[in-house]
């Protein structure tokens, strides 16, 4: 029997099977990881300069052309990356299907809220009067 005929007729008609997204999780985890290598180093150096700083210093920092771009990229990449990682952790250790699904949904929504808060905060500083 050929491989294509091992699927049920109904499944073939409905186009069921692979969601064509098999490597999406793996790929996005690597992409965000690679992006964060320079971004994390950049942020660590900048954060050292913000020790004991007041809000005015943050505004000056976020008024330079590329800083808010890097800050937003770091926030988005970090939270995307951690949502993929936490998803695997939940899948590995939570064995009840209901809890597993529920926790992943809550975690994902929480991540979206965090991204929203972070990006808006950086933009607020970038456009704040100096």
């Amino acid at each position: 029997m050929a491989m294509s005929q091992m699927r049920s007729p109904l499944g073939r008609v409905l186009g069921l099977g692979s969601a064509k997204e098999g490597v999406e999780h793996w790929w996005m985890q690597r992409l965000t990881a690679i992006a964060m290598v320079p971004l994390a180093i950049w942020f660590t150096i900048c954060a050292l300069g913000m020790i004991g700083a007041d809000r005015a210093a943050m505004v000056v920092w976020m008024h330079s052309p590329m800083s808010p771009v890097f800050a937003i990229l770091l926030i988005v990449a970090a939270i995307y990356h951690l949502s993929l990682g936490l998803q695997v952790v939940i899948e590995d250790y939570v064995h009840s299907e209901g809890w597993k699904l529920g926790l992943i949904i809550v975690m994902r929504l929480w991540c979206i809220v965090l991204i929203g808060r972070g990006v808006l905060a950086v933009l607020t500083l970038a456009f704040a009067a100096s």
Partner: protein, 130 residues
Amino acid sequence: MISDPRPLSPHLQIYRWQLTMTLSILHRITGVGLAVGAVLLVSWFGSAADGAVPFAKFQGFLGSPIGLVMLFGCSVALFYHLSNGIRHLVWDTGHGLDLKSVYVGGWTVLVATVALTVIVWGAGLSVWRH
């Protein structure tokens, strides 16, 4: 009675300790820790966007004993996860998967983590005092 004496996967309690197993679980533990660090990161930008007083309060919290412990934990976790993440990316290219390279890479990651922690906290504390 064992009818089919196939090899069994050993339990962790009787498995001989190896560096690689510790580094592996540390990658996951530091990853989950950095998820908390991401909340700290977003809160930091968020408080600055909220105003001078909320930001001063948050900076004060980061300088408090609890805040410093959190910052230290997050920075060590970042340096480890960053170094070991690069090790993972090298593996993804199909290189360094032989036993010797796995151990050389593992020790390199530990040395890099300690070195980065000492350099960044040395720089940070010298800035902070002034």
